[in-house]
């Protein structure tokens, strides 16, 4: 049930490598492809940045150096916690990101809970609802949700709950209340893949011989489902956690745009619109680090959930001496 330290270290190393390579790749796409965004941004006649600030930015990014040295410069600065300056307003990228992160993390956290709850509800309905037609209905929900663009879900929620019913304001900040609609928007979208995996997991657990053996032992259906099928069937869904968190953070771009929030998503939306390379790079790295950390945590926690994984092999009781002797 324990992971060996060597395995944990290896896994840590892998994660660090993925994050480092992500930086290299995104940097390369943003800055090394022809058409330098910093230069073109500053040379843009509609450039909002004042002359002397532009000068400072050019000096800061050392655009006179060859590309590889520029990259190296960015890496050394990154290691000192310096993410550079935004090309739109000249503010420090680290400030921009730090400012938006809290709000978006809260949103993503609530949305994660929403998606887990929805997925569970839908999966239970799809596998155990009493009538075949009802089960079929539940079963189609994830497919429809997957086919619905996130922005449409957001706009429909806005139209119904803010405009028609007037339950929420579309403009005013109402504190925690303002979280509800964007969290639902994100949660509904993210629940679909989880529900699909859960449905499959529950079905296959229900089909396992052990479920039949439990029935044959006289256990009531409710306890078989609640105690055995649910536990076994939910394990595969745990591996989706990292993916879901990543999608929620990325989806915040759309949710925050629709609901006029000012988190990381908004920062991203503005940065992409202005082709603000350094800010986009920072946002991508934040999301990639979160994704990698969540995946790492999932892998490390997995053996605690499933005793079959990572167990020391020696604990496996060797051949059948005992039976043979008996």
């Amino acid at each position: 049930m324990r992971l060996r330290p060597a395995a944990v270290l290896r896994r840590l190393g892998q994660s660090a490598l993925v994050v480092a390579l992500t930086y290299v790749l995104v940097y390369a796409v943003l800055f090394l492809l022809p058409g330098d965004p910093i230069r073109s941004r500053i040379d843009n006649p509609q450039n909002p940045i004042p002359e002397e600030q532009a000068e400072a930015i050019i000096n800061y990014y050392r655009l006179d150096l060859p590309p590889l040295e520029q990259f190296w410069l960015s890496v050394t600065r990154l290691l000192q916690g310096d993410l550079g300056y935004s090309l739109t307003n000249g503010r420090r990228v680290s400030d921009l990101v730090a400012q938006g992160f809290g709000e978006t993390a809260t949103l993503a956290g609530v949305a994660l809970l929403v998606s887990a709850a929805l997925a569970l509800l839908i999966a239970l309905g799809a596998v155990f609802a009493p009538w075949a037609r009802l089960r079929g209905l539940f079963r189609t929900l994830p497919a429809v949700a997957l086919a619905t663009p996130g922005f449409l879900i957001g706009l429909v929620l806005l139209q119904v709950f803010a405009y028609q019913l007037g339950w929420f304001s579309s403009i005013r900040d109402e504190g925690a209340r303002s979280l509800i609609l964007p969290a639902l928007t994100l949660g509904i979208g993210a629940s679909a893949p989880i529900a699909q995996v859960l449905i499959e997991g529950l079905e296959s657990a229900w089909r396992e011989p052990f479920a039949t053996v439990l029935r044959a032992g006289g256990f009531p259906r409710r306890s078989i489902i609640g105690r055995h099928v649910l536990k076994n069937g939910a394990i595969p869904a745990v591996t989706l956690l990292g993916l879901t968190v990543g999608e929620l953070l990325a989806g915040s771009v759309i949710a925050e745009t629709i609901f006029s929030r000012t988190g990381l998503g908004f920062v991203t939306e503005q940065a992409v619109r202005a082709q603000d390379g350094p800010t986009v790079l920072a946002v991508v790295m934040v999301v990639s680090v979160v994704f990698t950390l969540v995946n790492l945590a999932t892998d490390l926690v997995y053996p605690l959930i499933d005793p079959r994984i990572g167990g020391p092999r020696s604990a496996r009781i060797r051949p059948h001496r005992e039976e043979i002797a008996a």
């Binding site: 396992e208 011989p209 052990f210 039949t212 053996v213 439990l214 029935r215 044959a216 032992g217 006289g218 256990f219 009531p220 259906r221 055995h228 536990k231 076994n232 499933d306 005793p307 079959r308 167990g311 604990a315 496996r316 009781i317 051949p319 059948h320 005992e322 039976e323 043979i324 008996a326």
Partner: protein
């Protein structure tokens, strides 16, 4: 006084299990009804064993499921009646069944490895089962759980309570499942192929355990099996099921010695364990020419003990050499090395040609030796028709022009007696036996002198098994082939092999002529393997 009157006497003993005219059917996806059990009358009294024998698809598992109320949602009892311990269980709902399960009917499942929740400790499960049935006070349940584990022969029972299912072997798990089945003191134990997923030497111990518990607890046992010899050995009465009908039923000895039904006689005639001398005239002078020579074969997977450790064996021209062992003995690894499918240490020569220790991805010697694998469905490309599959090796090795290849393919397909009408079909449109014929034809296409047969019949029903064995023995005669047969089935070895090599944990335990070895095994392990062959009527 009333108590004395109620006590059953031998003459008026009520049946624990009684079915009359039981018909069971399934509704297909297209709403069509299919009746798979057509009127079964069964009767079983306390302390007795009834074996329900049949091949796959005969309806035996359907009956087993119906007797515990576990038919799948699309299955229904169409007519007839089920009485369990005097209770009419024909039309019970789930709640009614729950009252019977565990307390009246206990079940032992087919595959112990997947029959326990992998996330629940053995002890938790036992205690919960006792809470459900035995009405013991909380404190006493744990003690009783330990007692139960001891009763089914699990050592260190106290400690084992904390084990998860994956920490136990198949045989131990089956013991735990038996403990669970008897925890509620049932009157009837339904054992559906309780040993088919276990190694041969373990099988016997599990069946012995069931018998001893039966004697202690006065259980009625319904044993479901495809294995006639086993049924004959273990049951008081036998019912033979064929296509949903009971074709023969009666005391085991009578059914075995004077079968009333043609199908039953075929079954008995073909079961290897019951007809060891079917190919009795095969003892001929062996040629001295060696065709396959394996010397000091070693195969390691990662660190730790090698999977195959210094194995040597020789197959001479025209002989059937059996390599025998249980799962994990390394016999399949030996086969893969001889077939040139895996790297090895040591030396292997076929027809005087040494095999490369690290074989290339494409076999350079397909004409020397061909492998016929255990599962023909997996071994045939699902997209290839029979003809195309058999022609493929000829095409690769320049077997003449298109017409000549077609001619050769037809010839080998004739040789394996595959009807002409099936030759444009794809594997999934064939039966198991037909597929195995195609796989054999494909192996024969390049006219190799040696066939390596890896469990050639283990996926097939008894009657089909016999047909394939007949075919193989005939081919050997006509084509003067040599066989290296990999198997766990000693009754088959006794029936067809000339010499045998016994493997245990990757090492050769014993090797020699079949007759001699069966008559006087030198090693304890071999003795156990031989003892595990069901003897029919003991």
């Amino acid at each position: 006084m009333t108590i004395a009157l109620d006590r059953p006497t031998a003459a008026t003993r009520t049946a624990v299990l009684e079915t009359t005219g039981l018909r069971i059917g399934y509704t297909g996806r297209d709403r069509t009804r299919r009746t798979v059990v057509q009127g079964a009358d069964l009767r079983l009294e306390a302390g007795r064993t009834l074996a329900l024998v049949g091949q796959s698809g005969s309806g035996k598992s359907t009956i087993a499921a119906a007797l515990a109320g576990l038919l799948p949602a699309n299955g229904t009892v169409e007519s007839g009646a089920i009485r369990l311990d005097g209770v009419d269980a024909t039309a019970l709902d789930e709640r009614g069944w729950r009252a019977l399960r565990g307390g009246v009917v206990g079940t032992v499942p087919q595959d112990p490895l997947s029959s326990l929740d992998p996330l629940e400790r053995i002890g938790t499960r036992l205690v919960r089962t006792l809470a459900l049935h035995a009405g013991l006070p909380r404190a006493a349940r744990r003690v009783r759980a330990v007692e139960l584990l001891r009763a089914v022969g699990i050592r260190d029972a106290e400690e084992r309570l904390r084990a998860f299912p994956h920490e136990l072997s198949g045989g131990q798990l089956q013991r735990v499942l038996i403990a669970l089945a008897i925890a509620g003191r049932p009157r009837l134990l339904i054992a559906d192929e309780p040993t088919s997923a276990l190694d041969v030497t373990v099988q016997r111990t599990i069946l012995d355990l069931i018998r001893s518990l039966q004697e202690q607890l006065g259980l009625a046992v319904l044993l479901i099996t495809h294995d006639l010899a086993l049924a004959a050995e273990r049951a008081d009465e036998v019912a033979v099921l064929h296509d949903g009908r009971i074709v023969d039923q009666g005391p085991a000895r009578r059914v075995l010695e004077q079968p009333e039904d043609a199908y039953t006689s075929t079954l008995f005639a073909t079961a290897p364990a019951l007809s060891p001398d079917r190919y009795g005239d095969r003892e001929r002078a062996r040629s001295a020419e060696d065709v396959v020579v394996v010397r000091d074969l070693v195969k390691r997977f990662g660190r730790g003990a090698p999977a195959v450790d210094r194995v040597s064996l020789t197959v001479t021209r025209g002989e059937v050499h059996a390599l025998v062992g249980e799962s994990g003995s390394g016999k399949t690894t030996v086969a893969r090395a001889v077939a040139g499918l895996t790297a090895f240490e040591g030396s292997i020569a076929v027809e005087g040609t040494a095999l490369a220790a690290d074989p290339p991805r494409s076999n350079p010697h397909p004409r020397l030796l061909q492998l016929v694998s255990q599962n023909p469905l997996a071994a045939l490309d699902p997209r290839f028709t029979v003809r195309r599959a058999v022609e493929e090796p000829l095409r690769v090795h320049g077997g003449g022009n298109r017409a000549q290849r077609r001619e050769r393919a037809e010839a080998v397909l004739d040789e394996v007696a595959l009807p002409d009408s099936l030759r444009e079909r794809r594997p999934h449109e064939l039966s198991g036996g037909q597929r195995q014929r195609v796989a054999i034809a494909r192996a024969l296409a390049l006219a190799p002198r040696v066939l390596l047969l890896d469990e050639p019949t283990s996926a097939l029903d008894v009657v089909v098994q016999a047909q394939i064995i007949d075919l193989l023995m005939g081919l050997r005669e006509r084509e003067c082939l040599s066989y290296l047969v990999i198997t766990h089935d000693l009754s088959l070895v006794r029936q067809i092999a000339d010499r045998v090599t016994v493997l245990e944990h990757g090492r050769v335990v014993e090797s020699g002529p079949v007759r001699g070895l069966f008559a006087a095994p030198a090693e304890e392990y071999t003795r156990r393997l031989i003892a595990a062959i069901p003897r029919g009527l003991g």
